[in-house]
């Protein structure tokens, strides 16, 4: 997708990540250790999982701002059901059903009622969060059950020394890569994102495809929530009020998946996630205060976007598209 001569945004971000990586390795004594690198990747693994889901909808010119809401509400509901005596297996199934329902509702609104995805999912996030807070659980922090070893394993276990959350990102990335690259579904996603009218004319069932994507993204968000609640041994719905959804968008867009659709892939998400990971890890080791961390993070992200807009200027085609880019 990228020509040899032209620097892609993904390339810039990868270079930036590599630069930071080398810089930190030379200046921080314990940065370049296997354990630190594992914890570096691990600390952004949830972001990576969400990013892969978000990447999928963005490639087909959608966006899902309800991901964080789905993640926290579905998994909090599961934990609260387990606390009141439901077996974990059933609770997980119910949670999955909830995620599917949210995804399907969003997809139907976007595909059949033609409400732009950005507004649908913005509203859907509020609906999901409100439903959760009003009907599904009482308090906004739910403790994870401690009597199911396999549940704890999902977030805290290791396979061959690699923590489960990293394995989960790796597995999901692989599945998504195959899905996008080698299946008809994947090619259709790109086609829809590139030009939805042309896709429809050639006979791609774009509406069903959109519904399927939102369901898939919703399920990915749910999986992220389950892994997260296992890893921190609780789930806090307050995350919905944080800037997490923007962080997810940032790793996706930063990695080079265009908001105007049809371009990018799993690798872009991983590169974007790694840059954020290296940055956060290095700054934590340097013990930089929280507010300054946010400032540095934003400046570096803005820097990457500025370089991108110099190298890959907005073209006529982008400008003419129905929704424009966001």
């Amino acid at each position: 997708m990228t020509s040899g001569m032209r620097l892609s945004q993904e390339g810039i971000v990868a270079a930036l990540a590599a630069l930071l990586f080398v810089g930190f390795s030379l200046t921080l004594s314990n940065f370049l250790t296997v354990n630190n690198l594992i914890s570096l990747v691990r600390s952004v693994s949830i972001l990576g999982i969400l990013g892969i889901g978000m990447g999928l909808v963005i490639i087909s010119r959608g966006i899902d701002l309800a991901m964080v809401a789905t993640m926290v509400v579905a998994s909090s509901w599961v934990l609260s059901m387990v606390q009141s005596g439901t077996p974990l297996g059933w609770a997980l199934l119910f949670g999955m059903g909830f995620a599917i329902l949210v995804g399907a509702a969003t997809g139907i609104l976007v595909a059949y009622a033609l409400v732009p995805a950005i507004f649908t999912t913005l509203a859907m996030g509020l609906i999901v969060y409100g439903t959760g807070r009003a009907y599904l659980f009482q308090v906004d922090v739910q403790n994870a059950p401690s009597n199911y070893p396999w549940f704890s394993f999902l977030g805290t276990g290791n396979v061959l020394g690699i923590p489960m959350p990293i394995i989960a990102v790796g597995f999901l990335a692989l599945v998504m890569w195959v899905l996008l690259r080698y299946t008809r579904f994947g090619r259709f996603v790109y086609a829809t994102g590139d030009n939805i009218l042309a896709a429809r004319i050639v006979g791609i069932p774009v509406r069903l495809l959109i519904v399927a994507q939102f369901i898939l993204t919703s399920l990915i968000a749910y999986a992220a929530g389950i892994i997260m609640s296992s890893a921190v041994s609780s789930m806090s719905t307050r995350i919905y009020n944080s800037t997490m959804i923007y962080d997810v968008l940032l790793v996706v867009v930063l990695g080079g998946i265009s908001l105007s659709g049809g371009r990018g892939g799993v690798r872009n998400v991983l590169v974007g996630t790694l840059l954020v990971g290296v940055l956060l890890n290095g700054m934590t080791i340097l013990d930089i205060p929280y507010t300054e961390q946010n400032l540095i993070k934003s400046v570096i992200l803005l820097f990457a976007l500025i370089i991108d807009s110099f190298i890959n200027p907005r073209d006529e085609q982008t400008a003419q598209q129905q929704q424009g880019d966001i």
Partner: protein, 338 residues
């Protein structure tokens, strides 16, 4: 003379008899005690009390609200909640609207020491009494009921100073909450006051997790990589620091790293001590705070003083929760309060 004395005695006896007869009749009929009861109940009826928490739906605010609501129903004043759901902006709007609505009393839970300070001053000027709860503003109003955060900080710091004596690495990580919140600022003062005077204590990390357990977890993982010999963690809130505890437990260092934090003493927090994620919670006992809030509400509503004339402070008692005292008395659940 004798006769006169006799008459007096008889009269006295008679009056004593009459008195006891009267008393006896009161004992059968009872006394209405109106002179004490009426001035207590009558002025409370129809008064309006509004609570502006950080957000509803978490242990502390739900606990206080449950207790305050119960008394309001009992005494016949109205109790409303304006829930800004963690948004300082929405909270500011709620208070601004309330100032023009003129309730009798506002109960304010401050997100940080600055944001509401001006508004509280305006409310006072408008004659609205303000009771602050657990997180204070830099502006002092009619009453503050809550933890003495400096004291909480001293207790936590001293516990760690003991645990991390000269025979250990002496390395301590401070896990901050929201950097500008009252709890954070006042605790931080105490931590540094204690730690900076001790040569064997080294503060190796001072990061803010913004009440987010996942962030606390990520920070703790990195800190443990840098300082595998970490001795203690002092945190801001049990709901947040459980994330740090999870990272420590996963690294297999639960015995080496002592985690002390503070919280409202919910069963959730107690469970986390039982699971070994946290070692000590300095509990500010939400049910007790709720009772003190109720007392202050009545006192303020009944008082003739103008808004801002009296400035009460009530620092609630603290309980040190460890594995040894996780009794039902110390660990409450929301259902107990409702």
């Amino acid at each position: 003379m004798l006769n006169m004395r006799k008459v007096c005695t008889v009269l006295l006896a008679a009056s004593a008899l009459l008195g006891s007869a009267l008393a006896a009749s009161a004992a059968t009929q009872g006394l209405d005690n109106a002179e004490r009861r009426d001035p207590y109940y009558k002025p409370l009826e129809g008064k309006r009390v509004v609570f502006v928490p950080l957000a509803m739906g978490f242990d502390l605010t739900e606990g206080w609200a449950a207790i305050m609501r119960r008394q309001a129903e009992d005494l016949g004043y109205t109790f409303e909640i304006r829930d800004p759901n963690w948004s300082t902006d929405a909270g500011t709007r709620a208070i601004t609207a309330l100032i023009s609505e003129k309730p009798d009393l506002m109960i304010i839970h401050n997100p940080d020491v600055q944001s509401y300070a001006r508004l509280l001053k305006r409310a006072e000027a408008a004659g609205i009494k303000v009771l602050q709860v657990n997180l204070e503003s830099s502006y002092t109003t009619d009453s503050y009921v809550g933890a003495d955060w400096v004291k909480v900080g001293y207790i936590e710091a001293k516990v760690l100073a003991d645990k991390c004596g000269p025979d250990t690495s002496g390395k301590i990580a401070i896990m901050q909450g929201v950097p500008t919140a009252a709890s954070n600022l006042y605790e931080l003062f105490a931590y540094h006051d204690v730690f900076d005077k001790l040569d064997h204590i080294k503060v190796v990390s001072e990061q803010a997790a913004n009440y987010d357990p996942a962030k606390a977890r990520a920070i703790m993982e990195t800190v443990l990589e840098q300082h595998p010999d970490l001795c203690g963690v002092v945190g801001n809130w049990d709901n947040q620091d459980v994330g740090a505890g999870a990272a420590i437990q996963e690294a297999g260092k639960s015995d080496q790293v002592y985690v002390v934090t503070s919280g409202g003493g919910t069963t959730n927090g107690c469970e986390n001590i039982e699971k070994g994620l946290l070692d000590m919670i300095v509990s500010y006992d939400v049910p007790l705070q709720g009772d003190i809030l109720n007392q202050q509400i009545v006192e303020i509503l009944l008082s003739d003083a103008k808004a801002g004339e009296i400035k009460n402070t009530y620092y609630t008692p603290l309980t040190l929760l460890t594995k040894d005292n996780l009794t039902p008395r110390n660990c409450w659940s929301l259902d107990d309060l409702k």
